[in-house]
Symmetry: C2
Subunit: 364 residues, 2 copies
C-alpha cells in the first residue's frame, strides 16, 4: 500500500509515539524523523550516506572591492578543499559526511586538482554592475551543475545533501539577489561577509543598491531572470540542486547565508514554474544553522515563506564561515532522528509500563 505524505506523516508519528520515551520528549528530533519518513516514503528512514557539495565560483563584482579577501582566495581555497585541509573537510570527516568539491566557475585553471569535480561554466560570473552576471545559456548550465550533483548523490545512496559554497564576493551577490527577491533594502541584506571594514560595508551596500536598481528595478522580474542577472554560478548551482531535489528522497540541508539564498532562488523558480515540485520540497529542506551574517535570518524567513513552513535552523553557534560547515555539523541530527524511528524499542517490545498518556500508544 502506498501512503500519501499525510498518511506517512501520521504513521511515522504513531511509530515514534510507541517508542520507549514520553510523548514528544525528543522535540525537534521527532519532527525531523517524521519529515525524513515522508521524503523517503518509509517508516524506517535512514541516512547511511550523507554528503556536502561545495560549489566554487568567482564573481566579477569582486573587482568592486566588496570583500576582505582578494579574489585569488577562491582558487586557493579550492586547492585547500582538494588537499583536505579546509574547515569543511575537517568538520565533514568528524561527522561522517562526504565532501564533493565542484568547480562551477572559478576564475582559474583548476584542472590539476584531482579531488575537485570540474564543471566550470565560465571563468567567473560577469560584474553585475556592468551588465548581466550570466547569459541564459550560462544560467541553464549552472543550474545543471547542481542538478547533476543531486543525481550523483542519489546514485550513491546519499540521503542528506548539504549545499555549501566558496566564492570571494558571493555575499554581495547573495545580498543583491535577496534584496531583489524580498524587496528589502540592501541595508538589511548586506553584512560584513568574511569581515570587511565599516568603510567596506558602506561600499558593499552601495554596490548592492546599484545592482538591484540596475537589474530588478521596480518592475518585478521572474525569479529565474533575477538569478541570471545577479547570481553567481555557485548560487545558481545550489538553486539547480534545490530544484532537482524535489520529489526525490533527499533531505536538502542549506548551510549559511549564501547557500540559503541559493536554495531560495531554487524555490522561487519553482514557485513561478512548478508549484507541485515546490510543495514536495516542504518536508525536504532543512536550514542547518543560523549564521551571524546580517541577511541570513531574512533569507531563512523568505525560505519559510516560500515553503509555507517553519524552517527554524537546527543549530545556532554564531558561525559565518560558509563552505557547508554548518551543514556538516547539522547532518548528524538528521541521522540521529532517522535512527529513532529505525532502532528504538517500543513500549511493547521492551515490555515497559505505560504512562498516564502513553496507554493508547504503547499497545499498538
Amino acid at each position: 500500500m502506498t501512503l500519501t505524505p499525510i498518511g506517512m506523516a501520521a504513521g511515522a508519528k504513531r511509530a515514534i509515539d510507541a517508542k520507549t520515551k514520553p510523548i514528544e520528549s525528543l522535540g525537534r528530533l521527532e519532527e525531523i524523523a517524521v519529515r525524513l519518513a515522508v521524503i523517503q516514503k518509509s517508516l524506517t528512514p535512514s541516512i547511511q550516506w550523507a554528503r556536502v557539495c561545495v560549489f566554487g565560483a568567482d564573481h566579477g563584482v569582486a573587482d568592486a572591492g566588496v570583500s576582505a579577501y582578494p579574489k585569488a582566495v577562491t582558487a586557493e581555497m579550492m586547492k585547500n578543499f582538494n588537499g583536505g585541509g579546509a574547515a569543511i573537510n575537517v568538520l565533514a570527516r568528524a561527522n561522517g559526511v562526504e565532501v564533493e568539491t565542484i568547480d562551477a566557475g572559478v576564475d582559474a585553471d583548476l584542472s590539476a586538482l584531482e579531488n575537485v569535480r570540474h564543471e566550470k561554466v565560465r571563468h567567473g560570473s560577469r560584474n553585475f554592475l556592468e551588465g548581466e552576471a550570466m547569459t541564459a545559456d550560462e544560467l541553464t548550465a549552472a543550474l545543471a551543475v547542481g542538478a547533476r550533483a543531486v543525481r550523483r548523490a542519489l546514485a550513491d545512496d546519499v540521503r542528506a545533501l548539504g549545499v555549501g559554497e566558496m566564492g570571494i564576493g558571493n555575499t554581495t551577490a547573495a545580498a543583491a539577489l535577496l534584496a531583489a527577491y524580498t524587496g528589502r533594502s540592501p541595508s538589511e541584506t548586506v553584512g560584513r561577509g568574511t569581515g570587511v571594514s565599516s568603510d567596506g560595508l558602506a561600499n558593499k551596500r552601495a554596490v548592492v543598491e546599484r545592482a538591484v536598481a540596475l537589474h530588478c528595478g521596480r518592475d518585478a522580474r521572474s525569479a529565474r531572470e533575477c538569478l541570471r542577472r545577479l547570481g553567481g554560478l555557485e548560487i545558481a548551482a545550489i538553486a539547480g540542486a534545490t530544484i532537482a531535489a524535489a520529489q526525490t528522497p533527499l533531505a536538502l540541508v542549506a548551510d549559511g547565508f549564501i547557500s540559503t539564498v541559493g536554495v531560495l532562488a531554487g524555490l522561487r523558480i519553482l514557485a513561478d514554474e512548478d508549484v507541485g515540485a515546490l510543495g514536495a520540497l516542504r518536508p525536504a529542506v532543512f536550514i542547518a544553522h543560523r549564521s551571524t551574517e546580517a541577511g541570513h535570518s531574512l533569507a531563512i524567513d523568505a525560505v519559510g515563506e516560500a515553503l509555507r513552513s517553519d524552517v527554524r535552523p537546527l543549530l545556532d553557534l554564531r558561525m559565518r564561515l560558509g563552505e557547508g560547515t554548518g551543514a556538516a555539523l547539522a547532518i548528524p541530527l538528521l541521522r540521529s532522528a532517522a535512527l529513532v524511528l529505525c532502532d528504538m524499542a517500543t513500549f511493547a517490545s521492551a515490555e515497559i509500563s505505560a504512562g498516564e498518556h502513553g496507554g493508547e500508544h504503547s499497545l499498538e
Copy 2:
C-alpha cells in the same frame, strides 16, 4: 614549557586564528576548541573517545504520585538500556559515543543485566517527605559512584563525558534541590517531567514546597547537606562525577534538567569545600542542550553563576527526555571543535592570501 591556563587559551586562540578561515567565523566552535585546549593542556586537543554515563536510581518520593509513570519503569528502562533499545543507546551509536549504564540505586534486583554496572548504594532513596533521602554514608557512597565513573573514563582515554540519568520521580528531587540551592519558588523549579497532568503538576509543586520547608527551611544548609536530604542517588552520583572531573582533561557534558542540577550540586559542594577545583571546572563544564522542562533554564543560570562563566547550551531542540540524550547529540560538536585545532590547514601551510584582518595571523 608548561603553559598557564591563560597562556594555553591565548596560544589556542592564536592557532585558530592562523587557520584557513576568517577570524572567529566558526563562532562557538572556536570557543569550545579553546576550552578543550585548556583542559587537555594541549594545542592539539582530541576527543577520540566519548562516553555518556546513565546513572539510574529510584526515589521514595515517587510514592507521592509525582510522576506520569509508575516506579517500575526505572527498572524496566534499565533493562531497555541493557538491551540497547532506548533513545540514549540509539543516539549514542549514531554519534560515535559509548554508553555506560550504572545502577546507582534502582529499587529492583538488576544483577542479571550484563551491560549494567552494578553500583547500587541502596534500593532507592528514602521519601524525603518522611525523612532524609540518604544517610551521610549513603551520600558518600553515591558521590563515589560518580567519581569511579570518571576514573574509568580517564583510564579508557575518554575526553568527553556526558552525564545522564534515569529515575522515576527524579524531576521532583531535582526541583526540590534546585529550589533549595537557589531560593527560588517551587513554582519556578517544578515542571511536568515525563508529562504529569495539571492536577499532577499542582501536587508535585506542593510536594516540593513541603520538602524544601521540611529540609532546608530558612536557615541555609550546606550544599552537601541539601543533597543528602533531597537528592536522589543518581543525582548525587552526577555531583560526584562533577567533583571528580575537576583538574582532569575531561570535558563534562551536562544533559537536561536533572543532570544539570546534579552538576550544580557538585559545583556548590566545591564552592563550599574546594574553590580551586571549582575554578578548574570553569572551562570543562558544557551544557548540552536547553530542555523544555520548566526548571532547566534556571538550573543553567545557577551553573553559570557557580562557575562565573557563560554556559549557554550548545543545542536547543525542545527535548526533555533525559538519559543523556542531549549530551550524545552535543558531543560531536566538541569532537568537531577539537579537530579544527588539530587538522585544519593554516594560511601559511595552504599558501592562501591573507585578508584585511588576517595578515598578522597568517604569517605565524
